[in-house]
Symmetry: C2
């Protein structure tokens, strides 16, 4: 408790300091919300850097993540413009301020880096950045160090202090939680895609001539999407649709699916059923409903000569149009029992020839762009 | 800025108030971390109640979630011991303090509930709880109201005030973020299970006599797990293993898989391959590695007479032992072309007869317990 003889000046200073603390704690809480309100790993990393800079009132912030295999740290996002320069500089455990913090897990303030043996001059030298002072704390998930959060050059005079440190440790804890939730989400997403892909692959393996077909169609579809201005959510659905487009083949009999000769027209009618069988499978899963149009209509043609419904032009959903091109290109460029694979150049010519009648012109254009950039 | 003539008493009060604010902001930040450090929806709900009670220094807290279809709120977790009583009381939009907040999205403090028309007396009447004052804020995700957070009966005199409200709104925002992340995670998880299940179902549909087999085996396995003391993570793997146990059948030819007569011993050797084919599919997915033992060994027997490896006793992984019982029970209780389904009672007798030779005794015991509780 204060005593009565504390002078007015000291009171005012004390009050000002504590009011500042209130502001910074409110900011910390707000930054924690911002960090946790996305599950996108890259976005969290970006927000963590911004938060570090803002909360520490610093010139710059950086986040270094641990590469456990190599026992080194790498800069994730860093000093804005100089990002590219700095990304290439890995720091070994025990090397530099950040390397020390990553190694022993203890926060560190260095207000005279030039005098500190631990300071790693490499970054300043390569980036023209002058480090005056630095605050650096470990980012820990359940006692495991996954990275290091730094703020560099406090804007106010006097360097970083204990109060900064306590706030910065709390921020690093929030960053750790957000990164860990995002990691869990992304692992689950990867598990979904890989499992579905693996099952789709197994389903197509019954047909020995299409091994790897699903993966290639997915790769081609996503390459098209890059030059086609799809929204992120549409890209996600394109990926899922590509993986699932042929799963209806599970319902086609061996003797037709594996027949080495050309199919009779009756047999071809049976094969056509894979679109509808695919829909039957997919529509059981509420969360897959957006993939239904692509699974159903990836054999439709602009001129109405496709199947199963003979849709024309814009009646065909865009994801189906994209999968159609990817699917056909892969069919042309892989061996069939009754013909050899075309080379890619010839297959591109064929796509161009059928552009506007069988295939959507813009989709073919995007495909060719991706091909010319070496992405197909 | 303060002026010199402010008396000592007022200074001290002001300082005390602001120091308390620092404490509460630090607590808010800590509670935000606690809320976000799990993706388990139920656990977040529990922590939200605790946080509300603690931050508001209240006697009790509660979280009500919106049921959009019915336009009503239901208590998620509430006043500890009285939880069960209160869970049964739904509140319509516009009904009671919480119902008003859910309807118009504005926070509310009511320090004399008895005098307030909006106060809903049902809860007090049914629970013997005396509400003296109440603070209630909406829980919003992107402007959408998903629930209402309440704290009841401030421990200090004077009721809830503006400062409480500002802190409580921040807490509700943290709760909203944590609940939304958890929802996204759980939706993805559901998508994974439903898709895999749907594909497994399609794969088994090639065999018309086993429709719904995958779902039933999964249901039986999880019923066994309930009486078998599995850890939560083991339960998760049991579920995945059950869904995937027969996917290797995708590699078995139609003429064997769909043969209506009894298989010859040569054909049976072909069928046995589904365990190894299943492993080939599953091992492509890094995140599914824990399911390999169950997929591979779900046809092993304690006495070593099973396949594919003739493992004995404890050599057989526990998840494989569980799936084996679930799988066999379903095989016995469904029709086959060459025999009718057994009734459940007879199938249970058969499991008991083979307990200790073919099946693990403890697994059979757990199965019977689940059966007697009506869960199978």
């Amino acid at each position: 408790m204060p005593t009565k003889d504390i002078g007015f000046e000291r009171w005012t200073r004390k009050l000002k300091r504590i009011e500042e603390k209130v502001e910074r704690l409110a900011l910390l809480s707000q930054l924690g919300q911002i960090l946790n309100s996305t599950l996108d790993h890259k976005e969290i990393r970006r927000r963590a850097i911004e938060a570090a800079t803002q909360l520490m009132k610093a010139e710059a912030g950086s986040l270094l993540l641990v590469d456990e295999g190599k026992r080194q740290l790498y800069f994730e996002v860093a000093l804005s413009d100089r990002e590219e320069d700095i990304k290439m500089i890995p720091l070994r455990f025990g090397e530099g301020i950040a390397g020390c913090v990553a190694q022993n897990g203890k926060p560190l303030i260095v207000n005279s880096p030039k005098k500190d043996r631990r300071f790693f001059k490499g970054v300043d030298e390569r980036t023209d950045f002058k480090t005056r002072n630095i605050i650096c704390v470990p980012v820990k998930v359940k006692e495991k160090i996954i990275g290091v959060l730094e703020a560099i050059n406090k804007q106010e005079r006097g360097g970083f202090n204990k109060e900064d440190l306590s706030l910065f440790v709390s921020l690093a804890d929030q960053v750790a939680i957000a990164l860990d939730n995002s990691r869990l989400y992304q692992e689950l997403e990867e598990m979904f895609f890989q499992t579905t892909d693996s099952l789709a692959d197994a389903i197509e393996k019954r047909d020995p001539y299409t091994g790897g077909h699903t993966q290639r169609v997915t790769q081609y579809s996503l390459a098209i999407a890059k030059y086609f201005q799809l929204k992120p959510l549409e890209k996600k659905w394109l990926k899922i649709t590509s993986v699932l487009h042929d799963i209806g083949k599970v319902g086609i009999e061996d003797q037709i699916l594996k027949k080495p000769e050309r199919l009779t027209s009756k047999e071809f009618e049976m094969i056509k059923r894979h679109c509808d069988i695919g829909v039957e499978i997919v529509e059981h899963v509420r969360q897959l409903r957006e993939s239904i149009p692509g699974v159903k209509y990836h054999h439709e043609q602009l001129d109405g000569k496709g199947y199963p419904s003979g849709l024309k032009g814009d009646e065909i959903p865009v994801l189906a149009k994209i999968v159609a091109v990817a699917d056909t290109f892969d069919a042309m460029t892989t061996d069939r029992p009754y013909r050899r694979a075309m080379d890619k150049q010839a297959a591109i010519k064929e796509l161009e020839r059928c552009s506007g009648t069988q295939f959507d012109k813009k989709v073919v254009e995007a495909f060719i762009q991706a091909y010319q950039k070496g992405e197909i």
